[in-house]
Amino acid sequence: MPETVTIKVQRGAEGEFLHTEAFDVPYRQGMSALDALMWIRANIDSSLAIRYSCINANACKECMMRIDGRTQYACTARLGTDGATIEPLPNKRLIRDVVTDIVPPKETLGNLLGGIK
């Protein structure tokens, strides 16, 4: 079992230069992609933008992203010993890093200001 695995994450906000950054993350058997992203925020770069709420329960359904080319919930995607490449959802508007606009249209500030309801 490797001591660390490499996580490649797409960085940048809408309209900025988009690039990939690599992070070496300590590997624990059974860890999820979200565990790795949370570890990066806590130990290397707190500016990494991720959207999640329930941490581990797969209840809030907020942490959907692209992991090794497949759309998955980061909290249930097990990390293999080869690490992973993590990108934002391709079919949603990018906000920053792996955060995309998944807010239901009627729950946005823009919608409220637009006068609906």
């Binding site: 906000a13 809408e14 624990r28 058997q29 059974g30 860890m31 999820s32 925020r41 806590a42 130990n43 290397i44 770069d45 707190s46 500016s47 990494l48 933008a49 991720i50 959207r51 999640y52 709420s53 329930c54 941490i55 581990n56 329960a57 797969n58 209840a59 809030c60 359904k61 907020e62 919930y73 909290c75 249930t76 097990r78 906000i95 920053r96 890093d97 955060v99 606009d101 998944i102 807010v103 239901p104 009627k106 729950e107 946005t108 500030l109 409220l112 200001l113 309801k117």
Partner: protein, 579 residues
């Protein structure tokens, strides 16, 4: 700075879990305009959606029951400290809310006779807890309320709007200031009333259940607005949080429902039952109360009788597979995906921060002492005293949410000061200052705020956690105060606009550190052991401490006080009502 986006409403509700959503529905029903906001997503970001199973309610469908019996059990669990008016409201109105949710088609589990199923839970004398199968109470409740909110004609809702502070002038609420996460833009909101429904504080502890948003926002906002808090020394530790093997896609609280339905045996590292040595029985049944079980597991661990990962074993090996499957259906497959076969070996469990009994002090109309400021749900302190019964948290979210929305709507004509932009200016200036001291872009990689969070969580877990001593608490308090004063002030979030996690970290830490300080202070000051507050240096419960502790804010400094316990109104005395 350019003029921020400005919104107007009658009632602003901060936090869109079960309590906030119910408050919005009730406020609209009362004729008010409600604006429901959450820093995460509406209905998804709180801890309601994570509820696995039980909702305590005296509907008497499984066996005869009465709300006064529910109240008697709640008061007993609370170890003498429950606010009787709030506890009575909780137990009396829970049946109305559960039946209302039933009409809204939440799908409470029913038996073949068509009656709601109710299970026995620790501390309840009767089969009282309704649920939605399988482990689906939280998602079902959240979906049902989300639908009601969406159908409300007078309810507006905004996801991803983080409220930074309530705006108060001369002791009256005039609104709030927030930040829109998507673009970082400041937002001002004029409101005659504000309901704080942002949940609890479990994120302050290294080992916790519930969502990342539970960092004490509502408590800190209430304090800064001039309201007071109560019972802050009583975070609850859920005794049997999942510990090992690593399990993804399931909340660590998940063994609770397994024990409701199947019993299960709790064993120490020597494979012996041990709860009996701590004054409760638990053999194959799930009856021992949470405070005692947490304490017992910790003591076994200290005595060198823990499980390998540092907890206790929970075994269902004696339950046949067909029974497991009948009780939990697809959940058994999810466990298999995680390599767990309950018929073959036990899992390991350990205490985990789960809920906060303390919180914002309110009267029976959910009013704080600041005109126009209300609280609902877990944000409210006092109803559960020193120890909360299983199943009371969702009932409390519904009942207190509905009451806060209803009473705030009723009170509207007497509430409200005119919005004045000058009152919001200091909060907007603080946000602007935070952005103006942004770290240079070439210092892009920096985890100072992440490390500060981690340090706080470890400190709270080790020194302000389950088993406390005066020395450890004093040491923790010193460090927390230094973190508030020095470390927080030194943080330099990046200056980005869109989804700036570190700006949010700063506000989360500001709230979390203030709240952590109040917990440590209150725990030092309560010189006894009671319920979830266990002092190893003061192991006995002391009748002189059968009173509540309050916290107010003087400038930046929390100040403690004592008050007599509010007892249930005489006409609501459970003994009398039952006769």
């Amino acid at each position: 700075m350019s003029t921020p986006t400005h919104l107007e409403t009658d009632i602003l509700i901060v936090g869109a879990g079960g309590a906030g959503m119910y408050a919005a529905v009730a406020a609209a029903r009362g004729g008010a305009r409600a604006l429901l906001v959450d820093k995460s997503l509406i209905s998804r970001g709180g801890s309601t959606i994570m509820a696995q199973m039980t909702v305590a309610v005296a509907v008497g469908e499984e066996e005869p029951d009465h709300w006064t019996h529910h109240l008697a059990d709640t008061l007993k669990a609370g170890r003498g400290l429950c606010n009787g008016e709030l506890a009575a409201a909780l137990c009396r109105e829970a049946p109305d809310r559960i039946r209302e949710m039933d009409r809204w088609k939440v799908g409470w589990a029913r038996g073949e006779n068509g009656r709601m199923r109710q299970v026995m839970a620790p501390g309840h004398q009767l089969q009282r807890c309704v649920y939605v199968d399988f482990l689906n109470t939280g998602p079902a409740v959240a979906k049902t309320l989300r639908t009601q909110v969406a159908q409300g004609d007078n309810i507006s809702r905004v996801s991803g709007l983080a409220i930074l502070d309530v705006v108060v002038r001369d002791g009256r609420v005039t609104g709030a200031v927030g930040m829109n996460m998507e673009d970082g833009a400041p937002v001002t909101i004029a409101a005659k009333a504000v309901i704080l429904a942002g949940g609890g504080l479990t994120r302050l502890y290294a080992r916790n259940s519930a969502s990342v948003n539970m960092n004490g926002d509502s408590y800190a906002m209430a304090l800064r607005a001039g309201a007071d808090l109560i019972d802050m020394e009583f975070p609850q530790f859920f005794p049997i949080g999942h510990l090992a093997p690593r399990l993804v896609g399931m909340d660590p609280i998940m063994w609770d429902p397994f024990r409701y339905k199947l019993g299960g045996r709790l064993l120490n590292g020597d494979m012996d039952e041990f709860i009996e040595n701590y004054g409760e029985s638990d053999s194959g049944k799930y009856t021992a109360m949470r405070d005692v079980t947490s304490y017992a597991i910790w003591k076994e661990l200290e005595a060198g009788r823990g499980s390998p990962a540092g907890g206790a074993y929970l075994s269902f090996e004696h339950i046949p597979e067909n029974q497991l499957r009948a009780a939990f259906g697809p959940v058994i497959d999810r466990l298999a995906d995680n390599g767990i076969d309950l018929t073959r070996r036990p899992v390991e469990v350990a205490p985990i921060a789960h809920y906060h009994m303390g919180g914002v002090r309110v009267d029976a109309r959910m009013r704080t002492r600041v005109s126009g400021l209300y609280a609902a749900g877990e944000a409210v302190g006092g109803a559960n005293g020193a120890n909360r019964l299983s199943g009371n948290a969702i009932s409390e979210a519904f009942v207190f949410g509905e009451r806060a929305g209803r009473f705030a709507a009723e009170d509207l004509s007497e509430l409200g000061a005119d919005w004045g932009a000058a009152d919001a200016a200091p909060i907007l200036d603080e946000l602007a200052a935070l952005k103006s001291r942004a770290r240079p872009v070439d210092q892009h990689r920096d985890a100072t705020s992440g490390k500060l969070w981690r340090e706080l969580q470890e400190l709270m877990w080790n020194d302000v956690g389950l088993l406390r001593t005066g020395d450890k608490l004093a040491r923790a308090l010193d460090r927390i105060q230094a973190m508030r004063r020095d470390d927080l002030a030194a943080l330099q979030p990046p200056g980005d606009d869109a989804f700036n996690m570190e700006i949010l970290d700063w506000y989360d830490l500001r709230a979390g550190l203030l709240v952590a300080e109040t917990i440590a202070m209150a725990a030092i000051n309560r010189r006894e052991s009671r319920g979830a507050h266990q002092r190893e240096d003061l192991p006995n419960q002391d009748p002189d401490f059968e009173k509540n502790q309050t916290v107010t804010l003087d400038g930046e400094t929390p100040v403690l006080g004592w008050m007599d316990v509010v007892r249930a109104p005489r006409e609501l005395s459970p003994v009398e009502a039952a006769q």
